[in-house]
């Protein structure tokens, strides 16, 4: 087909967490600009399998930018060159014929490599176990329209709630800080009336867990905001910091 591209991939290969990894080059010929980035990898992988070589392992599932599973560092940027999309939404028309594409996993000590491009992001889950909820049981809750929530408040909470937990913010940060992710989660509930009763303990518990997981500290460089596929705002971090310090203040009072 006309318009197809011949590319070279430089891919991080690492059999497992205990073995050192290295870059390996693969040709990717005849790539259609209409393919998604992951479809391009599928094609390369099918070629590898045919030759009896282990396919390149990477995480993915929904392939429409919402599950947060895909996680590739492409040419030095989490989720590749375009703004506000995930790797699975990236299409090959964003690359040009003859290009060499470097593909790496998320790099952060709190996200150890499992194999090739797949990393362990369970630290994100553990942060949410620590407090990412409103303590209500099933049943016995008030009617949904019993509390009116001003639309601007609801919209602002929604903006924070769109975080897909992909970890690009961590991968983008030179300190591997998870502040953007954690603050998005904290903010959603901090903004809504339902989240008020546990607001300060929540912020504290989640931040403490984040520190335990070994994420770096925030030095306000803003790389996270620039790379976040859901355009989560860095103002969430300021909001979380306020809640965190308020929590400490109340603790000292008590």
């Amino acid at each position: 087909m006309s318009g197809n591209m011949n590319l070279t991939l430089k891919v991080w290969r690492q059999p497992n967490g205990n073995t050192k990894g290295t870059f390996v080059s693969y040709p990717a010929p005849g790539i259609s600009p209409d393919m998604s980035f992951l479809e391009m990898l599928d094609v390369v992988n099918e070629g590898l399998v045919k030759k009896g070589e282990d396919p390149i392992h990477f995480d993915h599932d929904c392939r429409e930018g919402i599950c947060g599973m895909c996680s590739l560092h492409i040419n030095g940027r989490p989720h590749g060159p375009k703004q506000a999309i995930t790797t699975c939404q990236l299409h090959m028309r964003s690359f040009h014929d003859g290009e060499t594409i470097v593909i790496e996993p998320w790099r952060a000590s709190a996200f150890p490599v499992i194999k090739d491009l797949a990393v362990d992001r369970s630290a994100f889950d553990r942060i949410q176990h620590a407090g990412g909820f409103v303590s209500v049981n099933t049943g016995g809750v008030p009617d949904a329209n019993a509390i009116a929530i001003p639309k601007p408040v609801a919209d602002e909470a929604f903006n924070s709630a769109t975080c897909i937990g992909c970890g690009a913010c961590v991968a983008a940060c030179k300190n591997a800080s998870a502040m953007l992710f954690v603050s998005a989660k904290v903010s959603q509930l901090a903004l809504l009336p339902q989240g008020q009763p546990e607001r300060y303990q929540r912020a504290q518990a989640m931040v403490n867990q984040m520190d335990t997981e070994g994420f770096g500290s925030c030095t306000n460089t803003g790389a996270c905001e620039a790379e976040c596929p859901k355009e989560i705002k860095i103002t969430n971090i300021a909001r979380m910091n306020r809640d965190y310090f308020t929590a400490n203040f109340f603790k000292e009072e008590a």
Partner: protein, 644 residues
């Protein structure tokens, strides 16, 4: 075996409350002596796991993704139905019940559907209490939109990501229970078999997808919340990992599989762009609130469009055929999915398809944009338009979208009774994995409702009854059934790993998908189905000879995972064909060319086919046995569906 659906006696509106009263309860102090396994953490699984743990049971939950939050429910876009009647537009439990039964083309149980409508209102309350940010109006109250198959506005939504917000709500409830130590979470684990002891489900065998370790887990009951099997078609709107393995393994252990051929083909998806295509992307049904579906009036115009000689925007009004509005004046573009899909296919078959491939129709927003303004349209559908633009490189604000139907949802699934128990005692199926509530066609925004109804409001009651009956005695993991089942799983994995042929597993999957789409897709005929059956049998034999499966069990191995899933899909495909052959009527998404009205609409045959087909596995390469559960309609009058 006689199928007993255990639908409670009495008037429809009292069945569920009476039943709840009659169910046995587990004493609060005994609950912690029970363990329940929940496989799957989508809406059905997360809500069930959290609710059961809140009651005091110990729960072990499993999912194949790296986090429970990534279950495929996350991808639902449009919304969730509930009979809240917040609009004052005439909605009620009765109406939601009626719309769902009718939408399902009278192939679902009255009792189940009524219960679903009844608990729908509690779901919205629960989600809001958890902090789910549904769309709101300026007065601060919840907003609604309309979906296909209904004439009221009862769909609650959260921009174009209702699924993500609902799942994050259920996931937060799950997280709280993990924090409390009541739920033990096993991510990156794939269930590969059910362990039955004396005919009862008492555990599962799961593979740790990172280390390859084959693990044995025992419990008093097992809940399968493992989603749908649309990926049997290779291309679908499902996530890449969606599979039938858990349900299929359970089927082979005695759980009957119901109505496997009932698949939903969603009318508004982005068309296939080439052979490399790995999945299809849905454009939410909500778009049909404002988008108008059309094709050019003549084949000649369509050909010119395909060749790029003219542009869609240049066609005059009288050169366009708004075929849904023309044929169904009262529902127009909002006819149910099966009707919309079949009509699109008809247009394409007549040579009026558009796009370079000719396999697409238009969904046009020009009217809505001139009526409401581009900003208003952006506020409503912006993320969907962006998604479309991202994939196709075409701007839907300036030219109509191209859409075509794609496999989206499976109404079929494991047979369950009113308590959501399969034919294996102690084994339950919830959410898309069961067959229960949508008959032959699911209405938009009703799957999220059903998943959460099952998990939050049905299983916490019905499971207790079973657990109280069997008692809290610890499960004996030393029972030989555990070691035997584990051995069978290991042998199968080794057999797969021994395949060193010349065809990739993806090639088999694509081939299977083509057969299913061609012969068991939007229209089905006896001749085609018979041909497909043979093709699938051959494909199966070929797979077990010539597939390539690489690596070892003791590692993260994509190749092995995929092979196991595709092998199960191939077997399921054959059963779907059998089911479609058996059902020589057209109903909902199942269109048999032999059974249509003069106008080409689906023609049901209630005399012969008002039953649920429940298939029993009888052994490797043996024909499955068909059991029939007769459907009784005491509250609605069966009529030919009409959306005219």
């Amino acid at each position: 075996m006689k199928l007993d659906a255990k639908i409670p006696e009495g008037p429809l509106a009292e069945k569920w409350s009476k039943h709840k009263f009659n169910l046995k309860l587990v004493n609060p102090s005994n609950k912690r002596k029970y363990t329940v396994i929940v496989v799957g953490t989508g809406l059905a699984g997360s809500s069930a796991a959290a609710s059961l743990a809140e009651l005091g049971y110990n729960v072990k939950a499993f999912c194949y993704q790296d986090s429970p939050r990534r279950a495929h429910s996350i991808a639902a876009q449009g919304g969730i139905n509930a009979a809240k009647n917040y609009r004052n537009d005439g909605d009620s439990v009765q109406r939601l019940f009626y719309d769902t039964i009718k939408g399902g083309d009278y192939r679902a149980r009255e009792g189940n559907v009524y219960r679903l409508a009844e608990v729908s209102v509690n779901i919205i309350d629960q989600c809001v209490a958890q902090g789910v940010p549904f769309a709101r109006e300026y007065g601060g109250l919840l907003d609604n939109r309309s979906f296909g198959g209904a004439q009221v506005s009862r769909t609650f939504y959260a921009r174009g990501q209702t699924g993500q917000q609902l799942l994050l709500g259920a996931y937060s409830a799950l997280n709280r229970q993990i924090h409390e130590g009541k739920v033990e979470m096993f991510s990156r684990h794939e269930m590969l078999d059910v362990v039955t002891v004396d005919g009862k489900a008492q555990g599962i065998i799961a593979r740790n997808l990172v280390t390859g370790e084959i693990e044995t887990h025992a419990a008093h009951a097992v809940l399968l919340c493992t989603g749908g099997y649309g990926n049997v078609y290779y291309l679908s709107t499902n996530a890449m990992g969606c599979n039938v393995t858990a349900a299929w393994r359970a089927h082979k252990r005695g759980a009957f599989f119901s109505n496997p051929c009932f698949t939903q083909i969603h009318p508004t998806c982005i068309p296939v762009s080439g052979d490399h295509q790995s999945k299809l992307t849905l454009m939410s049904e909500s778009l049909r609130n404002d988008g108008r579906v059309w094709v050019p009036k003549t084949k000649e115009l369509a050909a010119q469009l395909r060749e790029g000689k003219i542009k869609a925007t240049e066609l005059k009004e009288d050169e366009r055929d708004y075929f849904l509005e023309r044929k169904y004046p009262s529902f127009g573009n909002l006819v149910p999915r099966d009707v919309a899909s079949r009509n699109a296919k008809e247009m394409v078959d007549e040579g009026k398809g558009v796009g370079t491939s000719g396999v697409a129709v238009y969904l046009d927003f020009a009217d809505a944009i001139s009526r409401l303004g581009e900003d208003a349209v952006r506020a409503k559908y912006g993320n969907l338009f962006d998604m479309y633009y991202q994939i196709t490189d075409e701007n839907p604000y300036k030219q109509p979208m191209r859409i075509y139907p794609a496999v989206h949802y499976t109404m079929g699934g494991l047979w369950v009774d009113y308590n959501l128990q399969t034919t294996v005692p102690g084994l339950y199926a919830l959410g898309e994995a069961n067959f229960s509530d949508h008959g032959a066609n699911r209405l938009g925004a009703s799957a999220l409702m059903q998943g959460l109804a099952d998990g939050y409001f049905v299983i916490p009651y019905t499971l207790g009854d079973y657990l109280a009956t069997i008692g809290p005695k610890a499960i004996d993991v030393k029972h030989p059934a555990f070691t035997e089942t584990k051995k069978a799983v290991e042998e199968r994995l080794q057999k797969l790993l021994s395949l060193k042929g010349n065809k990739t597993v993806d090639e088999y999957h694509r081939e299977l998908g083509k057969i299913m789409w061609e012969y068991c897709g939007m229209s089905r005929s006896e001749e085609g189905l018979k041909k497909a059956k043979k093709l699938i049998q051959d494909l199966k034999t070929d797979f077990w000879k010539n597939a390539i499966v690489l690596g070892t069990n003791e590692e993260f191995n994509m190749s092995l995972e995929k092979a196991g899933r595709v092998a199960d899909f191939i077997e399921l495909g054959e059963l779907m064909i059998d089911d479609a052959l058996d059902r020589n009527e057209s109903c909902g998404g199942h269109f048999r060319v032999e059974s249509q009205t003069e106008e080409g609409e689906a023609l049901r045959d209630d005399e012969k086919f008002a039953y649920v087909a429940a298939w029993q596995y009888t052994g490797e390469n043996k024909p499955e046995a068909l059991h029939k559960e007769d459907l009784k309609f005491e509250n609605v009058k069966l009529s030919q569906r009409s959306y005219k």
